[in-house]
């Protein structure tokens, strides 16, 4: 039998893989990919808790729809920023962009 803990554990694994990606990727595009993993982990949690704890309501699913929407907007802007920066500096590597350094 699959309990709630299984789904939450799955989403935790996905989250930590995303976190690992965020912490280690040089490439801005792969950085964004890692962020998508984290967002999906969150979504799994939302839907799973909705299903197990309050099966009659649709709140978790609705919020996960919002998350998908926001994620779409974030990727659009993030990717276009990367492309824009690439045009300026011919690079998408985060450690090339340390303009905020003292």
């Amino acid at each position: 039998m699959i309990s709630l803990g299984h789904f939450v554990a799955l989403s935790t694994v996905l989250f930590c893989i995303g976190l690992f990606g965020v912490l280690t990727q040089r490439n801005a595009i792969r950085f964004l990919i890692s962020i998508e993993l984290i967002l999906n982990a969150a979504n799994i949690n939302l839907v799973a808790f909705n299903r197990y704890l309050a099966p009659a309501s649709a709140e978790g699913q609705v919020v996960s729809l919002f998350v998908i929407g926001v994620a779409a907007a974030a990727s659009v802007v993030g990717l276009i920023l990367i492309i824009s920066i690439y045009r300026q500096r011919q690079s998408v590597f985060l450690d090339d962009f340390n303009l905020l350094k003292w």
């Binding site: 976190l19 965020v22 912490l23 280690t24 040089r26 985060l94 450690d95 962009f97 340390n98 303009l99 905020l100 350094k101 003292w102």
Partner: protein, 607 residues
């Protein structure tokens, strides 16, 4: 017609605002505004005088403040003393302003000058009109401010700026005393009205102290010993200002204050005695300095101190009429002398009398009027100064203190001597100057002629031929007055002796080499003593405080800022600008947060 008195200061006050706001646009017309305003005030003063003769008196405009349950009213005092002062201030003021049109012509701050003069006129008129010490103090500071502004009028000259500061600070010493006296009167006497001065019921030593403190204000304003040092320096201002403020009116305010609070002084003999002694010291000391001064304005300045001292001496010796009479006559002839000196300076462009000489033939009007003024000052009968000085000498004689009488006589003698010396050096002999001298324009000589007229004849209103009209007007309670023939003869002899001595010594004046009389030539070292006693220690104190501020206070402040800088410098290296580093920190932080929250949740479960 007495109830229009409070309008008198308002016209010059309006003129001040007109000139200060529209002065640039008015140009030369600002002089006409100022002269017109004070002429109107003069007419009003005359109307008030007539009103007083036909039985008017003081009146109250409106209650103003209540201090501890004791009211301070906005009141106007109209009596003989006030009316005398009103007439003197408005007439002399108007004449001097007319003179200033010529004297200040072409000055870049022409309208500013007339604005200040108007402000001064309104403050001075207010000073003599108000009926309590509180309002008087306000006007008192007003005239002090104008004095400072006008002494430092040519503030491009460092000496003028310094003199303005010196005048302000020195009089401030006296004003502090006056202020304390007012507070003391208010707290123990419960009234600041002049009409209550004689009847205040309060502990004796405190009231005597109040009288002395008020006299301290008078000492500062009237440049009496030991606060006289500012007046000679104040000669850096325009000569017309010296004539109006530092000879005729403002410096007389101290004498006016003593006369105004006279009941307070007569009730406390110690205070009155102090007035007499201070007056005597100032009179003799300043007169002796004047004998050695070579700057025409300085001679007149010391003469002013000396004559004010004589007035104080007269008041202190119980000669109320003598003191006030001399105040009036002195205002006219000293204004005349200053204006004459201004005319001379205008012509020869120097103030050193050793560089003048022989001006009599070149500037007839100026010379003649100047000589009239000098004779009046010297006390030659029957010019105005004779009658008033004679009155003072009589009072001092009757007072009975022989030392004071000697002081008064010495002052008279020295006065005659130094004025004669001045005239001999400036107007007779060979012309020793380089600049071509010429007579001044009519706008300057006309006031001279009018003032000379006053200097000649004004004294007669106090003479037996006018049945002592002045004495009966100013002090009706003193009863019958009569001229002391013996004293009149004596004072004439003293004056003539002074003049004669000067004539005998006239050949020596130019040959005189400085150094024979170092004490007097250096003005009794007052400036040096004050410099050593007050100015230098104050500078040291200021320097010490500044050093403390710079090294200790600033050290703390700078230390704090340096600390912040160091910390910032150290933490700056954390800002690598690499997003990955920030993210690690963030993730680590989140991790710690999760752990803490979990543990706290666990603990909450347990308890």
């Amino acid at each position: 017609m007495v109830n229009i008195a409070h309008f008198i200061p308002l016209f010059p006050f309006a003129a001040f605002w007109l000139n200060i706001i529209f002065g640039r646009r008015l140009g030369v017309a600002s002089a006409y505004v100022a002269v017109g305003a004070s002429a109107i005030s003069a007419v009003l003063a005359w109307l008030v005088f007539q009103g007083l003769l036909s039985g008017g008196g003081s009146y109250t405009l409106t209650p103003w403040l209540t201090v501890n349950g004791h009211p301070i009213t906005l009141g106007i005092i109209v009596d003989s003393l006030t009316v005398m002062m009103l007439l003197v201030v408005t007439v002399v003021g108007t004449l001097i302003q007319i003179y200033s049109i010529g004297y200040m012509g072409g000055d870049p701050r022409f309208s500013r000058y007339f604005a200040y003069i108007s402000l001064f006129m309104s403050s001075m008129l207010g000073l003599v009109l108000v009926d309590n010490l509180f309002l008087l103090y306000i006007c008192w500071e007003g005239v002090g401010l104008c004095s400072c502004l006008l002494v430092a009028f040519w503030y491009e000259k460092p000496a003028a700026a310094a003199a303005g500061i010196k005048a302000f600070i020195t009089t401030r010493v006296g004003d502090t005393g006056l202020f304390l006296g007012i507070l003391l009167l208010m707290s123990v006497g419960h009234s600041l009205r002049f009409s209550d001065m004689g009847v205040i019921n309060a502990p004796e030593p405190l009231m005597a102290l109040a009288a002395l403190l008020i006299f301290m204000g008078a000492v500062g304003k009237s440049a009496q010993f030991p606060l006289h040092v500012w007046l000679p320096d104040a000669m850096e201002g325009p000569t017309a200002v010296s004539a109006l403020i530092h000879a005729a009116t403002m410096v007389a305010a101290g004498v006016y204050l003593v006369a105004r609070c006279y009941p307070l002084f007569t009730a406390h003999p110690l205070a009155l005695q102090t007035v007499a002694v201070i007056g005597a010291i100032s009179a003799v000391m300043a007169a002796s300095i004047a004998c050695f001064a070579n700057d025409i304005k300085k001679v007149l300045a010391y003469s002013t101190i000396s004559q004010l001292g004589l007035m104080m001496l007269g008041l202190g010796a119980g000669g109320y009429t003598g003191g006030t009479f001399h105040l009036m006559t002195h205002a006219f002839f000293k204004a005349l002398l200053f204006l004459g000196a201004g005319s001379v300076i205008h012509a020869v462009h120097t103030q050193d009398i050793r560089a003048m000489g022989g001006l009599f033939n070149k500037m007839k009007v100026t010379s003649l009027t100047f000589i009239i003024g000098a004779l009046a000052l010297a006390g030659v009968a029957p010019l105005s100064g004779f009658w008033s000085k004679d009155e003072i000498l009589t009072a001092v004689w009757h007072h009975g203190n022989f030392g004071l009488f000697i002081a008064a006589v010495t002052t008279s003698f020295l006065t005659a001597f130094y004025m004669t010396r001045l005239i001999l050096l400036a107007f007779f002999g060979e012309y020793r100057g380089a600049h071509k001298a010429h007579e001044s324009p009519a706008v300057m000589t006309l006031p001279l002629v009018i003032l000379a007229f006053f200097a000649l004849f004004l004294g007669l209103i106090g003479s037996p031929w006018a049945h002592h009209a002045f004495q009966r007007f100013i002090a009706p309670a003193e009863g019958e007055v009569a001229l002391d023939i013996g004293m009149a003869v004596a004072s004439s002899v003293i004056a003539l002796a002074g003049i004669l001595t000067a004539f005998l010594l006239r050949g020596k004046f130019l040959e005189y080499k400085p150094g024979a009389c170092p004490l007097i030539e250096n003005k009794y070292y007052f400036d040096e003593i004050y410099d050593a006693l007050f100015v230098r220690p104050f500078h040291w104190l200021a320097a010490a405080v500044a050093r403390f501020d710079r090294e200790r206070v600033d050290g703390v402040v700078n230390g704090i800022s340096r600390c912040v800088q160091e910390i910032a410098q150290a933490s700056r290296s954390l800002q690598t600008g690499l997003v990955e580093n920030y993210l690690v920190a963030q993730a680590g932080g989140v991790f710690v947060l999760i752990v803490v929250l979990t543990l706290v949740g666990k603990l909450c479960h347990i308890f």
